[in-house]
């Protein structure tokens, strides 16, 4: 069996066929699910650790500092050390808290992000489940996290948490619209909701180049709304540490806090990964029609490097936004969405539909 890092389909098929050869089909599927689950969780944890480290380094870069530089070379083990510390921190019981909801909330946040990460196409053939409504599924599960945030704020018996949770609810309900419409604009261009087909359609030009102005507008709107949806950057009203101390996770300590923290970073990764897939071609290398030599060189870089490179590019953009802008106020946040982004989005969608109908997009 010959494997290639450029096309992992043969690798995954080989695992499948060798499992089926040694056990019944039902068991084979069960074992595959466990393998995928473990692989995703390991990836999840590694990405979480890496993103926390990356955020510290990027923020240090923006702020004229060095960032972590003591634990390991360049401080790369700092987040590991922090995680170990968080594992040993006492879980402070909260008086008069709603115990069940209080304990369930972090898991809802985590589960939402794990479900989303399961449907992302990491490379050619490295795609756990290729739903025919992939975009729709990602939007649906990634907006589930807000339930956890709301429960956390509600059950903490803390007024700061409650304010944070209510802000978060209003924010995510609003910005979900913009995220959705921006992605729908691209679905109109692609003509499909299946992620693999969308990526295949970007072989000769990423959608952000193909879609002219509407695609660029949709990308900008998506980055703004996506940042808002992850409660980050200038939109971190739900935790707003200068007003609400830490917002909805004020009362959480130890590993429960770590779960919220981890989920926030993974959500950022998911938003960036969707942006990379839908606008920047996912794992598809940069191809220019007619430049055969250039395309060969680009093809030489493995697909998962392309995917992670694009995703971290978008992540860097989001971090850059966060460490530059001051925070918005809640009424400004809602004004921005309902008065500016939403009308812009609807107009943009119509423009894209017109472009596709006229046939100017190829």
């Amino acid at each position: 069996m010959e494997f290639s890092i450029y096309d992992l389909t043969s690798f995954t098929h080989w695992i499948d066929s060798s499992l089926r050869a040694s056990m019944s089909p039902g068991w084979a599927v069960a074992v595959e699910m466990i393998i995928i689950g473990v692989a995703l969780l390991v990836f999840y944890a590694l990405i979480g650790l890496f993103l926390v480290y990356a955020e510290r380094k990027v923020c240090a870069l923006m702020q004229n500092r060095l960032g972590p530089n003591r634990v390991g070379p360049g401080g790369i083990f700092q987040t590991v050390a922090d995680l170990v510390k968080l594992l040993f921190v006492e879980l402070v019981p909260i008086k008069n808290a709603d115990k069940i909801l209080f304990n369930v909330a972090p898991f809802i946040v985590i589960i939402a992000s794990v479900m989303a990460i399961g449907a992302l196409p990491f490379a050619k053939g490295l795609h756990a489940i290729d739903l025919n409504i992939g975009i729709f599924y990602l939007m649906a599960v990634s907006s589930m996290g807000v339930i956890g945030v709301l429960l956390a704020g509600w059950s903490s018996n803390n007024k700061y948490s409650l304010i944070g949770a209510m802000r978060s609810g209003a924010q995510i309900v609003s910005y979900e619209l913009s995220v959705g419409l921006a992605l729908v604009t691209m679905v109109v261009l692609a003509g499909t909701m299946q992620l693999s087909e969308m990526i295949e359609a970007q072989r000769w030009g990423w959608f952000i180049f193909k879609g002219h102005i509407p695609a660029v507008t949709a990308f900008v709107v998506y980055i703004v709304a996506g940042t808002a949806e992850t409660n980050r950057g200038p939109f971190d009203l739900a935790e707003a540490e200068s007003e609400l101390t830490a917002g909805y996770h004020t009362e959480y300590s130890g590993i429960k806090f770590a779960l919220f923290f981890l989920a926030e970073y993974i959500n950022m990764f998911i938003v960036a990964a969707i942006a990379a897939t839908v606008f920047l071609g996912g794992w598809m290398p940069l191809h220019v029609f007619g430049w055969d030599g250039f395309n060969k060189v680009m093809d030489f870089i493995p697909p998962f490097v392309w995917f992670l490179g694009k995703t971290f590019g978008v992540v860097f953009l989001m971090m850059w936004l966060k460490w530059t802008f001051p925070r918005l106020r809640i009424d400004q946040l809602l004004t921005l969405e309902w008065k500016y982004l939403l009308p812009l989005n609807i107009f943009n969608l119509l423009l894209m539909a017109t472009l596709v109908l006229v046939g100017w997009h190829w």
Binding site: Q63, P234, E241, S242, L244, T324, F325, P326
Partner: protein, 373 residues
């Protein structure tokens, strides 16, 4: 055991949150009891006294030379200016004329103090509004001034460089060069502050028309410093009642009539430029002369009452000394700008959102140890 229930008369749908004494945006141990309706602030009640050290009472058992070291601990960001206030009051009482050299050096150091205080204001104000990066930019530049202080005064924050009749010692030989280097550097860096924060559309929208107080109210509440001048109240002691070398320099009193948080902020940004102008006028012309007048070992003020006010980075600091002819003062009273500037907080913040309360509180630029004394 039943918990004690404190009954606070509240309207329906109102609730109370307790900001401080430990809270990231109250800049110290200020406690604000805030009645909220949703996110709207109905009423703010400041509770003070968490760092009350009885400085005024302690002064009654200390000699005049010793009192100076206590004044550092009030508004620690204007430490040099506070020292100067007491020294000027004592010199006025004894009718001592200090040399021009002392006046020049005091003025330069006062303006450096003002710049570093406003830098810290800028740094923390950005942080109050959620822009964490400015904190590091502000502190990076402030470090240069603190280094100048360290070299000349010995202290970085709590300088204690003044003494009745002059200064503790002469300036360091590097003082003039380093100050000029700093001005040259900061003239290039200050526009960077504007690019990062002042020009930011989110920042401007957050502050515009937030916490408005008009000129009449500002005078009635006794607001001074950048808070008063942001409302158009011309209250700069340096201009109206010049002390030290302020009558030898030309500078502009920054005045805005809008009276909102944005213009209180803008006053401070413009004042940094003016402070640099003042320093540039003086730094090359420091006259020769003694750095301290000859004083008696034990200073006794003649019986009577003495008042001296100076312009700190936050407003008018008044020193009122009642002497009964002893080596200790009979009574000392400090009119601290922060205490007065805090007073209208409820008037400013009521009706705005909780995020605005943070912005308004930040724009008053309070130093709590000065407020509590």
């Amino acid at each position: 055991m039943e918990e004690a229930v404190i009954n606070v008369p509240l309207e329906k749908e109102e609730y109370i949150i307790n900001m401080g004494p430990q809270h990231p945006s109250t800049h110290g141990v200020l406690r604000l009891v805030v009645s909220l309706r949703g996110e709207m602030v109905q009423n703010v009640e400041p509770h003070i006294g968490y760092v009350h050290r009885g400085i005024e009472k302690m002064c009654e058992n200390l000699t005049y030379a010793q009192i100076i070291h206590l004044t550092d601990r009030m508004d620690y960001l204007s430490a040099h200016i506070n020292n100067e206030a007491v020294c000027l009051a004592v010199e006025k009482a004894l009718d001592i004329e200090v040399s021009d050299r002392v006046k020049y050096i005091r003025t330069i150091l006062s303006e450096l103090t003002r710049i570093q205080s406003h830098q810290l204001f800028w740094a923390t104000y950005g942080m109050d509004l959620g822009g964490l990066t400015c904190f590091f930019y502000g502190l990076r530049d402030r470090e240069m001034i603190l280094d100048i202080f360290e070299e000349t005064c010995g202290g970085r924050l709590i300088v204690s460089y003044n003494c009745p009749g002059g200064l503790m010692n002469d300036i360091h030989p590097n003082f003039q060069k380093r100050t000029k280097d700093f001005i040259k550097y900061f003239r290039k860096t200050l526009p960077e502050y504007d690019r990062l924060l002042t020009g930011n559309v989110i920042f401007r929208e957050r502050l515009k028309d937030i916490g408005i107080i008009n000129r009449e109210d500002a005078i009635a509440w006794g607001l001074t410093g950048p808070v008063g001048r942001g409302s158009g109240f011309s209250c700069d002691v340096r201009k109206h009642n010049p002390y030290s070398a302020y009558n030898k320099v030309t500078f502009k009193e920054i005045l805005y009539n809008e009276g909102d948080s944005l213009h209180r902020y803008q006053v401070r940004m413009d004042e940094m430029w003016e402070s640099m102008n003042i320093i540039e006028q003086l730094i090359d012309n420091i006259p020769e002369g003694p750095y301290a007048a000859k004083m008696k070992p034990v200073i006794k003020l003649p019986e009577g009452e003495y008042w001296q006010s100076v312009e700190t980075a936050r407003g008018e600091l008044g020193v009122y000394i009642v002497s009964d002819g002893n080596k200790y003062p009979y009574r000392v009273k400090f009119r601290s700008p922060n205490f007065v500037n805090l007073a209208p907080l409820n008037k400013l913040a009521a009706g705005f959102k909780i995020a605005d309360l943070v912005a308004i509180n930040g724009s008053l630029d309070l130093v709590i140890p000065d407020l509590d004394r």
